[in-house]
Symmetry: C2
Amino acid sequence: MDHLERLSDLLVQTNELFYDIFSEVVGRYGISYAEVFVLKHIMESPRTIGELSKLSGFPYSTISGVVDRLEKDAYVVRQKDQNDRRVVWVCLAGDLEQLEQRLPFMSKTYLGELFAGMTKEEVEQICQSFMLVNRYLQEKLAAQAERERK
Amino acid sequence: MDHLERLSDLLVQTNELFYDIFSEVVGRYGISYAEVFVLKHIMESPRTIGELSKLSGFPYSTISGVVDRLEKDAYVVRQKDQNDRRVVWVCLAGDLEQLEQRLPFMSKTYLGELFAGMTKEEVEQICQSFMLVNRYLQEKLAAQAERERK
């Protein structure tokens, strides 16, 4: 098999494994993927429903429904913009720490816990590889941006 | 920094880089993430709107709208079940090859192309690491399944 094909197969498998693990975890906390998607973006900064709709490709009404459920479960609040009252921001109801206490899998350390039990050498080897992967992806992204400028 | 924390950071970065690259690519082909999500699942086997709704956590009406757009663009067709006419399957309009010709980023080889230019040794190193990562994830998944059985 071509060596890049083998790498593709492994990446697809990694992706599917992460998906399976998180599906089970997410289901256990009674929250949907759609809600996790919205929370992930809100964690970075408040967003409008319009922005979330554009980011996801789902219609405004759908995202509004997802935000309704998150609001009902006290994960987020809607807040009017102080300067322009027509603009409504979706914000975290509490702080990041509170969110991560309710949904531990949203925390960055959760990913690390998936690999608890690995030796330091194994972690070092994997870190080296991911650094290499990320460097290639960054170059790819820069090349994409370059093409767009033209 | 704790070594597992470093691994988490790198994984989060890898994930974000993939997301950024695919966002740009997906946008270029005038298709939304929601549509790609549906196509990904349909590529494996025909699905009902109800199944797709359950898989994504989005309401039936939303997925139905996504399938409408995919049908309009001749990516999928709705087909009545031969035994039970009340059941409607969403299927690919053509074969996999045709889909991958229209949307090259849906093809497995596209992932490999992202890493074109890597040396054989680099690919080998990364494959070894991903095999290790996948082994840990598989163990995690097996442990989850074990807990559920109890």
